[in-house]
């Protein structure tokens, strides 16, 4: 059975986010815009916001990025959906 690439991506993203240490200056950033020298983009702080949401600091999470908790829920649902999809397509294919 083949595990979809997207499932790897979302799981790795959530694991990586869980290991972010919020508050340290000059944090490591994967963001292509940030690495090109842009100071801000609409997605800035989303990962840190999700991490804060995971540890239960909802107010700080909202202030870091309003979509943090929403994103975490949506990605969780998406992971469940992908796993369900693997199960339904095993019959044919």
């Amino acid at each position: 059975m083949k595990i979809p690439f997207e499932l790897y991506f979302w799981c790795l993203a959530l694991i990586a986010i869980a290991f972010i240490e919020v508050g340290t200056e000059a944090h490591f950033s994967l963001c292509p815009l940030h690495n090109l020298g842009a100071n801000w983009c609409p997605g800035c702080g989303l990962g840190r916001s999700m991490k804060l949401f995971m540890t239960g600091e909802f107010k700080a999470s909202w202030e870091m990025h309003p979509l943090g908790g929403f994103g975490l829920l949506v990605i969780g649902f998406r992971i469940i959906e992908i796993i369900k999809h693997i199960k339904t397509t095993r019959n044919y294919g």
Binding site: F9, L67, R78
Partner: protein
Amino acid sequence: MANVLKHLPELEGMELGYIQGILKNMDDEQANLFAQVYRARRKDSQMILILTLLGFFGFAGLHRFILGQIGLGILYLFTIGLCFIGTIVDLVNYKSLAYEYNMKVAHETLSLMSNGFDVVFPKKNTDTNE
């Protein structure tokens, strides 16, 4: 036993194999009905690719809306595709995204045919008894 190349010649790759697996239990008339409904509802992977590319011009996540993943669509739209990372991942992954959606459509079509059109799809009962 219907041939997928006769009814849905535009399919390719994994999708072709999968639909052939579905069509092999049908006669030509059933396969014809299935092909009509499926063709009207499926999404072309090229359209997904183009909508994903729009993400680099500020309209990220349109492909997620089109594929019925509204939550991820909103998330992508307001964060320009998770800071382009999500857009780039979906650019690599656009074929499986379209494939996944089309499989859902195929199953929907199958259940539509077996529920509402018993006259057209009489083999269903004999198949399950075997």
